[in-house]
């Protein structure tokens, strides 16, 4: 019975993927080339881009931008969040503003960045950074708010020093929340990357998409979009893995 179910499941999945591929191919042949390109054309365009080194260069550009922005966001957001976790008055003072910035569509700031900082690498990193930093901060603070005061009191009663308090209470308690924040930052940072590549100086995968659309090279555009989809899926899986890995003890309430 179980075996039969598994068999049915894999058949359905395979059938749906095959149907999607056929649908993509057929849609490309039925419509005008400006609207949609067949899967075969998209893949051959992708192979061509990979062979000529364009894909490696543009993809590398994109990743460089993305990783710089994301790592900066984590490097700033995580320690700041931890600090706010420990210093309660500062947290109370700032948490509403951080929540506000967390809910703000950061893309609204892109025109300001463009007009003040112009083109170049730094403004684009700033965009990715702004997209990614607030989820880390916000979630770390959420974690800090969930720390039970008794835990800290017990630690104090046992004469924990500051370092021990951090090691045994603060970090274990806020880390899972911070990981949730990092997962969100991984996803939002990717949006920031594409936005920066579209609206600041064109570069990377964003530029590939733009150029494809301007030259009516739909297959080229679709191949770049496909790469971004795959990148998105891989990054989301990575984020989920990180969150799961570090949340083994989340919600553990003795």
């Amino acid at each position: 019975m179980q075996q039969q179910k598994n068999w049915l499941r894999y058949t359905t999945i395979a059938a749906s993927l095959a149907l999607g591929a056929i649908g993509w191919e057929v849609a490309g042949h039925l419509t005008s080339g400006a609207f949609w390109a067949p899967l075969s054309a998209t893949l051959s365009s992708l192979v061509e881009a990979a062979r000529s080194g364009v894909l490696l260069k543009q993809g590398g550009n994109s990743l460089e931008l993305y990783l710089t922005g994301l790592l900066l966001a984590i490097a700033v957001g995580a320690p700041l969040g931890m600090l706010l976790a420990r210093v309660a008055w500062l947290r109370v003072a700032l948490e509403d503003y951080i929540m506000m910035l967390y809910a703000t569509p950061m893309v609204a700031l892109v025109p300001f960045i463009l007009s003040m900082m112009g083109f170049g690498f730094a403004p684009k990193v700033l965009v990715v950074f702004l997209f990614a930093v607030f989820p880390v901060l916000y979630n770390t603070i959420e974690g800090a708010r969930s720390i039970k005061p008794e835990l800290v009191e017990v630690a104090h009663s046992f004469r924990s020093g500051e370092w021990q308090l951090w090691r045994d209470v603060m970090i274990p308690y806020t880390l899972p929340f911070m990981m949730t924040g990092i997962r969100q930052a991984i996803a939002r940072g990717l949006v920031g990357m594409v936005v920066a590549e579209f609206f600041l100086s064109p570069s990377g995968l964003g530029q590939m998409i733009m150029m494809g659309s301007q030259n009516f090279d739909t297959a080229g555009m679709l191949s770049a979009i496909l790469i971004i989809v795959l990148l998105g899926v891989a990054l989301m899986d990575l984020g989920r893995y990180l969150e799961k890995r570090f949340s083994a003890w989340k919600g553990y309430n003795p």
Binding site: F35, D96, L114, R145
Partner: protein, 261 residues
């Protein structure tokens, strides 16, 4: 907002949280003002400049039309995504074949930054409001579908067994059991979707140059009227925070039984 003592020793704080928050806000505004006045060129937005133009902009017919255009597109797109996303999500959650058939598509499009398909969408719809609406729908649909699916899957087995024992009709099972118990997930999905929809609409306006808050923002910042442009940011922040607060309130008020965080 209730104040939990948390880790630090808050009882030692001599001032009330409200004063602390207001003081921090004031401090940040003053800091912004000073930094811009001393370091940045004159056109850069600063609190005093924004305050000066705020009422002129917010009562300006053109600005109001722009805000209306954007928010209406977001609302429409969210509505479409909500209906379609809930239907697809609940089907995926309850019918294994549908789940296996759609899972890869929904998951991977959920993970895709919808900004990336903007050029494609403009090829399909042209440079007009339809393109904006479709970007909003693309941005919002998948988060709602995924959350509705999780919600439909989280229905406690016992409820369904009881329903079956009482020979409940399928539509009763759907509307009285599956749908209500998916609601907390659905609300979480809407919160996520609203944020993404707002981003989608603004980015679409940057790209397509049709009237709306995004275009207002872009146009004014290009002509170095940063103070005016910033009013549009304030409206966007207000909408973002408003949706967040509304969903949180709805969850607390009407779904207190939900055990999600």
């Amino acid at each position: 907002m209730s104040l939990r003592a948390g880790a630090g020793n808050l009882s030692a704080a001599p001032v009330s949280p409200f004063v602390l928050k207001a003081g921090a806000g004031l401090f940040l505004l003053v800091l912004w003002e000073i930094v811009v006045r001393t370091l940045a060129p004159g056109y850069v937005a600063r609190p005093s400049g924004i305050a000066r133009v705020f009422f002129t902009v917010i009562t300006d017919a053109q600005f109001l039309a722009a805000a209306w255009a954007t928010l209406a597109a977001v609302a429409q797109g969210l509505f479409v995504s909500l209906i379609a996303g809930t239907a697809v999500g609940i089907m995926m959650g309850r019918v294994a074949v549908v789940e296996h058939g759609l899972r890869y598509y929904v998951n991977s499009l959920f993970a895709t930054p919808m900004v990336a398909i903007l050029p494609l969408v403009t090829l399909w719809f042209g440079y007009n409001a339809d393109a904006r609406l479709s970007v909003v729908v693309f941005a919002a649909f998948f988060s709602i579908a995924i959350n509705a699916c999780d919600g439909a899957r989280s229905v406690p087995m016992e409820y369904l067994e009881v329903a079956r024992s009482f020979r409940a009709r399928p539509r009763h099972t759907l509307f009285d059991i599956i749908f209500p118990s998916s609601l907390p997930y659905l609300l979480a999905g809407i919160r996520l979707a609203a944020g993404r929809a707002l981003v989608g609409a603004v980015v679409a306006e940057f790209f397509i140059s049709i009237p709306g808050l995004g275009y207002y923002l872009l146009y004014n910042s290009r002509t170095f009227k940063h103070n005016e442009a910033f009013v549009a940011v304030i409206v966007l922040v207000a909408v973002g925070v408003g949706v967040e607060a509304l969903v949180n309130w709805l969850t607390k008020r009407y779904l207190p039984w939900s055990r999600r965080d």
